[in-house]
Symmetry: C2
Subunit: 222 residues, 2 copies
Amino acid sequence: MRIALLGGTGDIGQALALRWARDTNHEILIGSRDPERARTKADEYETELDSVGVEREVKGFANEMAADRADVVVLAVPAYHARDTVESVADRVGEADVLVSPAVGMDRDDAGFHYKPPKAGSVTRLVADAAPEGVPVVGAFHNLSADRLANLSVDIDLDTLVVGDDGDAVDTVVQLAEGIEGLRALRAGPIANAPEVESLTPLLINLAMENEGLHDVGVTFE
Amino acid sequence: MRIALLGGTGDIGQALALRWARDTNHEILIGSRDPERARTKADEYETELDSVGVEREVKGFANEMAADRADVVVLAVPAYHARDTVESVADRVGEADVLVSPAVGMDRDDAGFHYKPPKAGSVTRLVADAAPEGVPVVGAFHNLSADRLANLSVDIDLDTLVVGDDGDAVDTVVQLAEGIEGLRALRAGPIANAPEVESLTPLLINLAMENEGLHDVGVTFE
């Protein structure tokens, strides 16, 4: 399968790119608004993979080109760029593709981080509303520490939560997620349940700030 | 320490009563609006404890009397009774006591359960607003499955999250929580962070409904 990571030069994009490249045979395409930057970062990821004994090609493209070539398009951009990014690739994705939304809207005050969804109700819903008719949208990978995943010397044993209204698209993303060693994907229901999933992210940051030894904390459900 | 569980005849009250009675030396007071019902349930808890070889006295009282005698008062009532219950015991709690709020506001639709905080922003904040001046309020125990804890044959290895604005009161509740075998208490910051903690509860219910083998699911952070 071909996975495009739009905004794949950022931290969660890098994290997923490295883990998928190391642990699976999926073809990894790094997208950026700046194709030169995408190519530079893709080269860096190849070097990083090579340093752990993995010889893999990672390619960089403009977001539009990456989306055009991919089966699964991950919107690895900040929440406030989610809509723009979907719109920029709208004519490059079709009903056979899957759009994946890992972004979370948050703000911060003196107490900590707080869930602040867009007016649509969740970023996943915002993406679904902005996506072309018939293109399935799945929310996933919100609650993973990018720093922890990007460090390939760290073994993980974590869960990620998947929401979506299209069962086949959800199955695809569950399988992609579980291709990463030590990652389990749990189903959290339709997109209407995305707020409860997305709001876990500010909680994790608050726990990391308030407790010794929980830097880059993740979650497991049992 | 004396712990009053107001609404202690309900499921989370029963769960905490049984675990504290089995695992600690704290004195456990069951409160109910109906003192006769409190005494009946307290007797049932004694019988349950006796069946696992633990001889402990558990006493039942009217909520007001239980609160009056206790150092820590747990509001083990549904979210929509939290304010009434605090008001009913307002003249029985003092600055040396701690009020603990485990309740969560939720609603349900076809997709699943959703976080629905009261207008105050969270149930913990609602309780803090209703509490007498100077009485510290701590949010905790939201994300525990009552059925799982009430079954004393089940070992647990779970986290609970604690929020509060009064450091000493938070410390007291962290210690109380960790008196339960297999339960770790993590600090989630001030009461302003309660929404991110409380919204974990509908997520857990959604995960239990959507995934095989996650009935009575709990959470750990690592």
